[in-house]
Amino acid sequence: MSAVIDAPAPAAGAPEPQVRDRADVRRQVKLVVVLAIVLAVEIWFKLNIDDPSVSHLLKGPRTKENLPVEFDGTLVSWTAVVVSAVALVLAILNRYPRGWVGILVSTLVGIGFYSAFLMWAYADPDGFAASITNPIPGTISLATPLVLGALAGVLCERAGVVNIAIEGQFIAGAFFGSVFSSFAVASIAAIPLFWCSIFGLLGGIVAGVGMAALLGVFALRYHVDQVVVGVVLVAFGYGITSFLLGQIPDDNEEMFNQPELLESVEIPGLSDIPYIGHALFGQNLLVYFMYVAAPLVWWLLFQTRWGLRVRSVGEHPKAADTVGINVNRVRWQAVLLGGVFAGLGGAVFTLDIGSFDKEMTAGTGFIALAAVIMGRWHPIMAALAAVLFGFLRTLENQLSILDEKVPGELLAALPYIATIIAVAGFAGRVRPPAADGQPYVKSD
């Protein structure tokens, strides 16, 4: 009996021959090649440094009390080399960790490469000796609209509605945020200034939801191709905001285009943490909202019944319909909620920076869309991808002063090249929600 049921046991001591599928082999090859290149470049960086002393201003901007701290960059460079070498060895032995540990290791390698690059770029200055500045404030500031836009995209697309119009929602949110805020300052005398900027946020939300409603009407009710609607809404958004901007009479600027900027609110204990405290916890409300938004959307999508309905509608609307879910109503809800996030993301541009300018969002909405796809339509991953983009753009800003060593245009193009490499090399064939882009028509 047992001979019939039991599978033949492997011979004692001899391991089963491992059959590896091609995707696994390809992954290992990619890892080895990339890590080898990283290691080689880091070593080249180190060998090209004549005088390794650099200075940093990581505590904050330069003031009389906060002077650049000089230090020897050699240790940092060699540490980076060691980290990359260890990772390379792991990859060669096919022991490179997977899952969250793998991501952690990759991040460490990335940080190491970044540090080695900084040591090389800031050493041996030709003229003015620049100091390494803290990238965190810039990253947070640039990442806020990207994260909010990416979350909007995730919400819409998880419900099955392709949202190319994030850029249009941004520009509308920026414009109306500015208008509402300025209007509140100029016309409503009794409100303290703080609430005027909140009123501006309301303007951003209204604009974002308005654009989302347009997307919904044409995509969900009239079944227009959603990509078409997205492109058209972006063009429409640009045109209408530029047009309305031109309509503001010059002498009436302060009524409509001088928004009260959002104040920074320091969080008492946390903002005193050295190096990162002020940067992370001395920001304005929208930034704090961004911190909360990503886990909030994750919770909504994956821990609530509503989120389950949204996801089912995006994957298999027919099955959802059979169970009794009103497919289009759920899609509307997701699209409008996404509009709130996108509108707030747009408001960041004017309520954090200043008055509205023609086409001021300059394609940020499309970067947010790229973050959605890079994050594989998962709210947390998309938010992280958005933060990465913000970091790369900050890097470009910071390094633009080092024009002799690295051409400015190359740095500017770096985030975009990095995205292409990421999407083509590592994200692989991403799988959007199965019913993404298909309007649902009840049929019997």
Partner: protein
């Protein structure tokens, strides 16, 4: 007999209908033409509302109306009169700017030519199921290449022009083909790669413009010298022949799509990549070819500006043609002939918009809004009609069942 089946289920593809074997069924296209005309009228109506709301005299008379509600009809008459004047002035200026004189016609055709070419590129990619937002980047690198050949080398007259055009075509084809290659080899979504390559293209152009070899002597700006006169498009009465080239390109694209093997494979892949693969077609090859040809057409569009309008190369030289080409292709239902008509329409609107701005003081962004609205209205009524036809057909079928 596949038409009724297609109309039964309103699909996104109704915007881009499959060409049947023969394109000589003109009557088949009449509903589409009618829908487009209605859409244009609707969009112009919304534009009129915007014009009215932005006209100073109308606003003043509205002010007067609200402060004197007693004599409503007196002031209402004023409001109506000023509104009518504003719209009339604006739209006659639009027509005059586009068609009113020799120079106006020139401007219209000059602006249409690049729109047609780039629109053909986007349309071709649509047909293969690819969304090519990358026309902007493709045009920029092609402009750089054409400009470089144009001002850096010295070749006999006609050869110079051909060489410059060839450089642009190659540059555009490479930039576009890269997207196709990435999609074919790694499944990278073309929406992302094209957007990214647009920006990379812009920075590439800026990079080269900063180099000595590309600088205009006597100027520190990022502006290249104007190309040699040998390399410029020949002109007739001030209008360069780019428009003819654009029309020829449209014919070539039509031939490619309808009469060639590659075109058939392209359409098959666009309709259903899995079925095409099962039928033995190489989807990878089609993706690469489609994007390369799309890039080539974008490159052709770039030559119109650099070699036709005698401008130097900057990072703004192609303007917003890359993005407008998408709306042109959508309006033209992704067919060659439709794209030509749509390109002419948008070129006219663009030229007329300039006239509207100078003669009637209407901001040029209005044209952008009107163009976007046209495409939107074009897509919507077609499907509303489709839906009503379903209801009517189902009602008919039910009536027949009851009668039987």
């Amino acid at each position: 007999m596949t038409e009724p089946a297609r109309e039964m289920s309103p699909q996104p593809e109704t915007l881009m209908p499959e060409p049947t074997g023969t394109d000589r069924d003109w009557a088949k296209w009449l509903p589409t033409v009618r829908d487009t005309v209605i859409a244009v009228i609707l969009a112009l109506l919304v534009g009129a509302v915007l014009i009215i709301l932005s006209d100073e005299q109308v606003i003043e008379s509205l002010d007067a109306l609200f402060s004197n509600p007693g004599s409503f009809f007196v002031y209402a008459g004023d409001v109506l009169r000023y509104s009518g004047e504003a719209v009339w002035d604006a739209y006659t200026a639009l027509l005059r700017g586009a068609f009113g004189s020799g120079p106006a016609w020139e401007r219209t055709l000059e602006r249409s030519a690049p729109l047609i070419c780039a629109g053909l590129g986007v349309a071709l990619a649509f047909r293969a199921g690819l969304f090519n937002i990358g026309a902007q980047g493709q045009m920029l690198v092609a402009a750089l290449a054409a400009g470089y050949v144009g001002f850096n080398y010295d070749l006999p007259p006609f050869i110079h022009l051909l060489a410059a055009i060839a450089a642009a075509l190659v540059a555009g084809a490479l930039w576009g083909g890269l997207v196709g290659l990435l999609k074919a080899r790694s499944g990278a979504h073309e929406v992302i790669t094209t957007i990214m390559l647009n920006q990379v293209g812009r920075f590439t152009v800026l990079f080269f413009l900063a180099r000595e070899a590309f600088q205009r002597p006597g100027s520190d700006n990022l502006l290249s010298p104007i190309v040699d006169s040998d390399a410029q498009y020949p002109t007739i009465a001030g209008l360069h022949l780019g428009i003819l080239v654009a029309l020829l390109a449209a014919v070539a694209v039509w031939w490619l799509l309808v009469r060639s093997k590659l075109g058939f494979e392209l359409r098959a892949v666009g309709a259903n990549p899995d079925a095409a693969r099962t039928a033995g077609m190489s989807v990878s090859k089609v993706y690469i070819a489609a994007m390369a040809i799309a890039g080539l057409l974008a490159g052709l569009a770039a030559t119109m500006t650099v070699l036709g309008l005698r401008q130097g190369v900057t990072d703004q030289v192609v303007g917003s043609v890359g993005f407008d080409a998408i709306t042109v292709a959508l309006l033209g239902r992704a067919t060659p002939f439709g794209t030509v008509l749509a390109g002419l329409l948008f070129g006219a609107l663009s030229a007329g918009g300039l006239g509207m701005q100078t003669a009637a003081g209407v901001p040029p962004e209005l044209i952008q809004v009107v163009q976007a609205l046209i495409v939107l209205f074009v897509a919507a009524p077609a499907l509303i009609r489709g839906l009503t036809r379903i209801r009517r057909r189902r009602a008919q079928a039910e009536a027949q069942e009851v009668a039987a």
